[in-house]
Symmetry: C2
Subunit: 253 residues, 2 copies
DNA sequence: CAGTGGTCTAGACCACGCA
DNA sequence: GCGTGGTCTAGACCACTGC
């Protein structure tokens, strides 16, 4: 009767490990601290390295840990809140937005984007690359697809590609009357190029924010922004920019 | 000259596998179709089962596949768009919302929620469980935390717990003047109870939507909703409910 | 009971960062 | 060159589903 029921429904080892580690992180580690390496940790808990890694992967997914090849595993800071919906109904590139344009090419968009833009199959569009930095950290990479028909007066005297061209496309976009916009968020995995820009490995989990911009009764541009899922919490500030303070008791390293 | 450069930068096998499988899914399979089992697939591609599984995990994360223990791996339908932000500034439980209240208990919320609610440590609040079903599929589980101070007139004659109690709490909430609300989305992993409700294994990736409801100058309630990340695309309909049509060319099984 | 995906092991080698 | 995390293998057993 006094016996405690152990493992009657045997929880997976990695799940139990994750719980134990999570509690240890709360009580015995501070942000930025380096954990013992995977081989040592696995030995300490008496499990195979693969099993330990399953637990670490979960904790990284939840933003509790940060792992870097060649360096080690560190305790991650709390996720940063990144405002996504506060600047309602403004074009990308409007004064004071959080993005920096880095490049612009002309290319055929992926099929899913072409479907939204209602462009012909294989039709090329202006493709602006932008990146977003918050608190000194690169948090997102974006591709903005702009059909030629949305920027008819784009001057040929501007550079044919590069950051200057990107700014020219954004400038032209401002001239349209933005009627509405529309957002969706889903889970994805980083393509090789985005992963590199976000300083993650390919396949890293990302939050994909797809935004449609409506002008003149049609979809004038589509933005596909990928945010690091491990470090970001996307905020949709209906309340006018009130910031959520999260786990205020955790201290910085 | 004519030689194709193979593996000069050796892509990981699982990454290449994922690409190959992804293309096969597009061209040779239709939604709902069952794939060969993991042992056969691994043998067919000449890799260890663990490596194949790494590729399948990624594809499942991206919503391309669905795996069920004891059953098999099937081709997933396109993600369903789930409206999260369209019904702006209404209380949970307002007429016509997509949720169904199933239970209500009185308990101390997790520390992160207590911090937002600004309740004392260990203070108990009404905790309403709701679930959301779209297209016959359970897509989300929610816990709604309501401090007693937000529903002062809650009648003692209602049941102390259960669905009836949940509805009573929601009814009382409607009487408050909702001033604003505030949302955040982040990646998480399903706790055991949520996982069961969502018909997934514990640890499955979920999109966690945290909503704060402001009334009478303070946070009157907090909702933490977990959506299946594999099957859902969260839509924030600033444009008044315009629905994104995604990959319309894919056909149902 | 047979077949599926889920967990776990004990190794090996590789790619990367840094001193 | 050394130590780190990342990839990969070839097995084993377990938990669940459906017949």
């Amino acid at each position: 009767m006094g016996t405690t029921q152990l493992e009657s429904v045997p929880e997976p080892k990695y799940w139990h490990l994750k719980t134990v580690l999570s509690e240890a992180l709360d009580s015995e580690f501070s942000v930025g601290e380096i954990l013992p390496n995977e081989r040592d940790l696995a030995a300490r808990f008496g499990v195979a390295r693969a099993t330990l890694r399953q637990a670490l992967e979960q904790l990284e997914l939840e933003g509790r840990l940060q792992r870097r090849r060649g360096v080690g595993t560190t305790v991650a800071p709390p996720r940063v809140g990144v405002a996504v919906g506060s600047e309602q109904h403004t074009w990308p590139g409007a004064a004071g937005d959080a993005w920096q344009a880095t490049d612009c090419t002309v290319a055929a968009p992926p099929a899913s984007v072409a479907g939204i833009l209602e462009t012909a199959h294989g039709e090329q569009v202006h493709t602006v690359r932008r990146s977003r930095v918050t608190h000194g950290q690169q948090v997102a990479a974006e591709l903005l697809y702009v059909p030629a028909s949305s920027v008819p007066d784009l001057s040929a005297i501007d550079a044919p590609s590069g950051a200057a061209r990107a700014r020219a496309v954004l400038r032209e976009l401002q001239r349209l009357d933005l009627e509405n916009q529309d957002r969706a968020v889903e889970l994805g995995s980083a393509r090789a190029d985005d992963a590199k820009e976000l300083d993650r490995l390919p396949g890293a989990p990302v939050l994909v924010v797809t935004t449609r911009f409506f002008a003149e009764g049609r979809t004038a541009a589509v933005s596909v922004a990928t945010y690091r899922a491990d470090t970001c919490r996307l905020t949709f500030g209906d309340s006018g920019g009130v910031e959520i303070h999260h786990d205020p008791e955790r201290r910085a390293s």
